[in-house]
Amino acid sequence: MRIKNSPHILALRYTPRDFCHLATDRFVLLTKTPEEITPAYLAWFNDPDVRAHLALAGGDYDVEKLRMFTKGHNTETSFLFWIATQEDRDTPIGFSQLFMTRLHNLAQTSICLGDKSWWGKGVIGEARSAVLDFAFRKLAVDKVFGHCQKPNAAALFNYQAEKWEFEAILKRHHKVGEERVDLIQYAMFREEWMRRIDAWVAEQEDDMSQGDPA
């Protein structure tokens, strides 16, 4: 199925507690079972440049550890999406997590682009927009928030480019190596997300009406 009027999700297959597949223009975001995790998933996972700002404890990962990591997700409120290209769905280039808190009807998300050959090519914006659209329109949360560490200029850029709302600075909140660094919190609210969707729909309708023969 397709989420109606979505500029971000071209196709959606979702069975709660089983699997969730989102397709964007260039990518697919797929939940996986632990058994589906292969060494291909480790290609960049332990790259120091990738792990530098990733708040994942436990040192280097092997397949077994990655399977354990995967196992903790894919419930009705916790998702681990592996991001891959449409052409090669078995070779992940990154991942995104989404955790929903029912009590407050909000979700936290994070995203990591591991394959360096895709850095600077708009992957984060495209993939995260699909996750946000899923969160707001399928899970029906009111708010999604995310964090980035102050030294992570690339992540900061992405939040700004996607026009998230700056919310807070958590002072010296994370440890990067031996240094304590500030954590910056950004938020996206349902009203703003739906305003963007409505604007996109209106633009599509306008384009279609302009294309109508007189």
């Binding site: 850095w119 600077g120 090519k121 708009g122 984060i124 102050k150 200029a153 690339a154 992540a155 900061l156 850029f157 992405n158 700004q160 480019a161 026009k163 700056f166 600075i169 500030d182 910056i184």
Partner: protein, 82 residues
């Protein structure tokens, strides 16, 4: 030897030079209203270079509040001494 434009001129000119270098474009192609999402080449990798360029010009790391504000040419100029 010619002077480094990122180190000379007024704050606006230096900001433009730093941004131009970060996005790998000639200074003359950086409009007054250059901002994230509006300027071709200003991507995440360019942003890393931009932050490094501003910090080099200031000879100190940006504060968290300052780094959050780096999203448009005029905001970069405001960080540089006049």
């Amino acid at each position: 030897m010619s002077a480094n434009p990122a180190q000379t001129g007024d704050a606006a000119s230096r900001a433009r030079a730093i941004l131009a270098e970060a996005v790998s474009r000639p200074v003359g192609e950086i409009p007054d209203d250059a901002a994230i999402g509006m300027l071709e080449g200003w991507d995440s990798l360019a942003h890393i270079r931009l932050i490094a360029g501003i910090e080099a010009a200031l000879d100190r790391p940006l504060t968290t509040e300052e780094v959050i504000g780096v999203h448009a040419l005029d905001k970069i100029a405001a960080l540089l001494p006049g």
